[in-house]
Symmetry: C2
Subunit: 438 residues, 2 copies
């Protein structure tokens, strides 16, 4: 058996402690599969004294985590600190400058600085791996880079945020409202005290930007991801979707398009969608993640599993380490950074499909006529229309009106909503959610 | 860019032609991802003159496919001939003896001769890859060998035969009987003229034996897979399962167990199961395949996609070629053949769970009492019992009696059926199907 692969671990939160537990618990089988021992030699975290339930006494300690990247007794640095910039980024740069490999679970850093870091890694002929940054324990980066490598990927989409999926599927199961379920999720530790990154779709956007770069061979472009989260989804929307045979899921969707001038553009969006009950994503419940990739020969591939948590994330981190131990120093984004295409952001207006539109309207005569006239004038064809929850006489409560459109361009819907903008009939801006069929 | 990877293709059926089409259609992106061109240089098949819809004029032709393994201008042989022995096996041996890599979609050959061939490949330091042999286009071998490599895999199971799944899900959708749906599937080309390998579970058993070797690090042991197919599943069973909230699927299940003496044993079985509607495998319809792997850190991973067809199978073959082009010469079964454990077959009687049992009985007084007494005497606890389709007075038609047991050992059910063996009340042997919960 070869020399051990020597690891330094930066960050000892739940995932860091999970990586230590995994490497200890599965040491024998990891050595058999990797052909060599994977050995932690040094660690660093903010607070040395904190009890993490793992014994750190065998490992060297560095107060300054950036030093880990310079230690001569280290082959690979595992970065589990988080944050797009700051110490994590400093450590990543130092690691490649010192000619060592880096494994990270840091989706924000990869989404913002992945190209710079990949260029550094390639120049140093070092591995740079981040399977744990997307969809937790699911080997979806490997699935795209290697498993589906023979295909032109036509579309990649999925459920990329476990917190949102937990909230939506709990709303679905219980009929409760968003705010109520979010509060409970926070109390139980399923959602952060500041849940913005999760529920506004930023976390999913980081992951989607990474996936689409690998799937389409385009330079990572986080800034172009349009992200809308799940704050505005109502229990009534979920009930309405259910009656139509759909489940509401926060979907990250990326797809290359060709614009009128023949140029390649990239569409990337995080948005709640209505997913048909016969589509495999409809049955992804709780904190589970799932990613669909559609290839020009393989057709539809689905990868599903735990999207977060110390065990699943540690599984992905150590899978990367095993790949490195086996000698894999492939291009971080599948093809070398210098050969990645740049594709400007696509305009969502070019997209066509069915959509669910929910209005919150004043309960008075003529409102429906006003809405349907705007739809007609914008060329939106309505497949079904449901007026829900007529308020009691004299009440000021707005009434919900939901509709499903026929297949048509998203630009027509946007135009209809422009026509309705400023209308006194609307209590708030309408919520539009695209439909995903079987 | 490096030198091209030079390929010889043995077998030009639908998959062989698919590989040619894929390599032509996606040549540029394959070269970008692999870092070098993948170039077909020679081909062989039984009939040179046959029109396959692809132009073979650029490739050298060999009448004797075994010669492909000896050609000096070839780096990798792709074997798509099929058959556990015969020319495919001769070609595989010749290829490794000549120090070349082999990629194959031949599940029968890998199930029967995989260890011998892997030992030859390892001795020659050549790649031996067979992603296409299991679950068509789904990168599940890669998922287990690499994606889940950090985990002790506790169980691997799934839907491994598209023909059976097509038949079962069509029976489900239409209420028609097995023989009727099979005949239609044959007419449409979804089932072979001789469907035995598919519907009796042999094809799935080949795939399961390969998966369990990789998942558990055990020497491949096809002979120990107990295979029962779907011939005996009735439309009435499917209706009954549906009423209970389950779907019937042909499941391949492999799981290491520890016997009374502390030895590791391996359970491998192909059998129809009742799958709870909240389990992701319940919604796998048509010719789709899906595999679940449960790891001790990652939890449940699901891989789903097209299990057969020229495009998906070609996708898996070319993914293997891209791995080889990138320099991957890992152990074919994840750890070297000499280090694989041998685990004797586990006795299914040690397993516990709920089960569905369907009896076909004479319609006369006392039959139910006889069955329930046997269950009681064997210690089988009945959760629910349904007597279906009482025949008309005077009819000789048997009546179906179905039951679901409480959680209990499979050995108790086997004992109960032994007690009933030879009973004149039973028109045919009962059909037992284990339940898989959420």
């Amino acid at each position: 058996m070869s020399e051990p692969l020597r690891i330094a671990l930066a960050g000892l939160g739940t995932v860091g402690a999970g990586v230590i537990r995994l490497i200890e618990a599965n040491a024998d089988l990891i050595a058999r599969r990797a052909g060599r021992e994977i050995r932690i030699v040094a660690v660093s975290a903010r607070n040395r004294g904190k009890d993490r339930g793992v014994d750190l006494s065998a490992y060297a300690w560095e107060d300054d985590m950036v030093i880990l990247g310079e230690r001569e007794d280290v082959d690979v640095v595992v970065e589990l600190v988080g944050g797009a910039d700051g110490p994590a980024l400093a450590l990543a740069r130092t690691t490649f400058e010192a000619g060592k490999a880096l494994v990270t679970a840091n989706k924000a850093m990869v989404a913002h600085h992945g190209l710079e870091l990949a260029a550094k890694a390639e120049a140093a002929k070092c591995a740079f791996k981040f399977e744990a940054a997307v969809a937790g324990g699911i080997p979806v980066i490997k699935g795209l880079k290697e498993g589906a490598a023979a295909n032109a990927i036509e579309r990649v989409y999925g459920i990329l945020n476990g917190t949102c999926n937990y909230i939506l599927s709990t709303m679905e199961d219980t009929g409760r409202d968003f705010a109520d379920v979010l509060a409970e999720a926070q109390a139980r530790g399923y959602a952060e005290a500041d849940p913005t990154f999760d529920i506004d779709g930023i976390d999913a956007a980081h992951k989607l930007a990474i996936l689409s770069s690998i799937a389409f061979g385009t330079a990572i472009d986080f800034a172009s991801v349009r992200a809308t989260g799940i704050r505005r989804v109502l229990a009534a929307d979920i009930a309405q979707a259910d009656a139509l045979g759909y489940y509401i899921r926060l979907i990250g969707m990326a797809e290359p398009e060709t614009d009128a001038s023949g140029s390649r553009r990239l569409f990337q969006r995080i948005h709640p969608h209505l997913v048909h009950r016969d589509h495999p994503l409809a049955h992804v419940d709780g904190a589970t993640n799932a990613v669909v990739a559609e290839g020009n020969f393989v057709g539809r591939l689905l990868f599903q599993g735990a999207g977060a948590g110390d065990g699943p994330t540690a599984s992905a981190v150590v899978a990367d380490l095993i790949d490195i131990a086996r000698g894999d120093v492939g291009a971080p984004f599948s093809i070398p950074v210098g050969e990645l295409d740049t594709a400007p952001a696509a305009d969502s207006g070019h997209r066509t499909g069915k959509a669910y539109i929910r209005f919150s309207v004043a309960d008075r005569p003529g409102v429906l006529a006003e809405i349907t006239a705007a739809m007609r004038d914008a060329g939106v064809s309505i497949e079904s229309l449901i007026q829900k929850g007529r308020a009691e006489a004299g009440s000021d409560e707005p009434v919900l009106v939901a509709m499903v459109t026929h297949e048509g361009p998203e630009s027509a819907i946007a135009h209809a909503l422009e026509l309705l903008e400023g209308s006194e009939s609307l209590a708030e801006p309408p919520l539009v959610m695209p439909l995903i069929g079987e």
